[in-house]
Symmetry: C2
Subunit: 193 residues, 2 copies
DNA sequence: CGAAAATTTGACATGACTCAACTGGAGTGG
DNA sequence: CCACTCCAGTTGAGTCATGTCAAATTTTCG
């Protein structure tokens, strides 16, 4: 399975696995495809799965009382995505997750994940590390949202994720940056003059 | 040691420890006191320690190019605090951490933490869980900062942390909410009419 | 008690939003 | 292949949330 190798490579950025472990690991995951626009998780449901994206693009977002969408995360190939709150605590999700492109991914349930930690303890390390990294990146975003104006946040976004910038419609980028699409359009045009 | 019991109790919210493990655990920590206003970490240094607060109050914050402080976290008794980025990756800290009150805490270095995970593997679970919870709370703050106006964010803060609201000067709360102290003062006075 | 810091208050400035009209592709059906 | 619709993006005018600055007042603390 090609798909599976991407996950292995991702794990091996942080620790090494022998062939037996790789084989065991595989049993814990299932494969799934989503069409563009298809939901992976809807607000109010329980997020049973955490997803590792093989190709395509997903997003997690919150819909506020006025119906506006605020994007927490994009996930392209080689990224994890879930509603962490709902996944770890089995509470009703406040987030929606859907596909912005046709997407293939590997899924694991929380129960399987916890079993996996018992069977191959070093994978607890792997998930601890990616959780640490996730925490760090939310900290950075929070700091940026407090200390920078929208044009600077947009500039940082382009620099940090040039691929996403080309791949995503502006509306989605605006919802990630915490501004309106109209305002993002103005920022871009001022930049171009 | 009284101090140590608070940490044990915190850990036992998530898993159970036998007496031997408690005794071993103790060896990994050191005790430290800070006076009010004293730095625990300064921007540019490496955050060698993660701190568990026994009593008192600390804050981690970023100073932007214009010299304004933006608070990422308060930590009162029973909370952990560090610059996660610097602590895990040994990079120069972008954050400052200091004491808002006289504070007592237990410290652990990253090296000791990793050794601890090997010696008592279930503590890796403990730190994974508190990291998961930290990630969730930063996600929530980011969403609130994108979807709510300052008066609503302040109302949520009071509801969520009534103790902090009484204990902290307004300037600090403003720097946490991402607004100016002047504007927070106006919010409070409109609320009181 | 006195100096320094925190908070309040008001006038004004500005970054970002709203709304509405317009433009220009990207599907879709005939 | 054209006509039509439908989004995404653009542009401009007006508005609103929050910031800036400065002066007055209160609180803190040596």
């Amino acid at each position: 399975m090609e798909e599976f190798n991407l996950l292995i490579k991702n794990i091996e950025k942080h620790l090494s696995l022998n062939e037996t472990e790789k084989e065991e690991l595989r049993q814990f995951f299932t494969f799934k495809k989503l069409r563009k626009r298809q939901y992976f998780l809807q607000e109010g449901d329980i997020s049973h799965y955490s997803a590792f994206v093989i190709n395509g693009c997903m997003r997690s977002y919150y819909v506020d009382v006025n119906g506006f969408e605020h994007i927490l995360q994009f996930a392209i190939e080689d990224w994890w995505i879930t509603d962490m709150m709902s996944f770890t605590k089995k509470t009703e999700a406040k987030l929606n997750i859907d596909a912005l492109e046709d997407t293939e991914m590997l899924l694991i349930t929380r129960e399987q994940q916890l079993k996996l930690f018992e069977k191959i303890p070093k994978l607890e390390k792997y998930f601890r590390i990616i959780t640490e990294n996730g925490l760090i990146s939310y900290q950075n975003r929070l700091l940026e949202s407090m200390s920078l104006h929208a044009p600077e946040r947009y500039a940082n976004f382009i620099k940090r994720y040039p691929a996403l910038n080309k791949r995503l419609p502006q509306t989605q980028i605006a919802a990630y940056l915490g501004i309106t699409p109209v305002f993002l359009s103005k920022i871009r045009n001022i930049n171009n003059q």
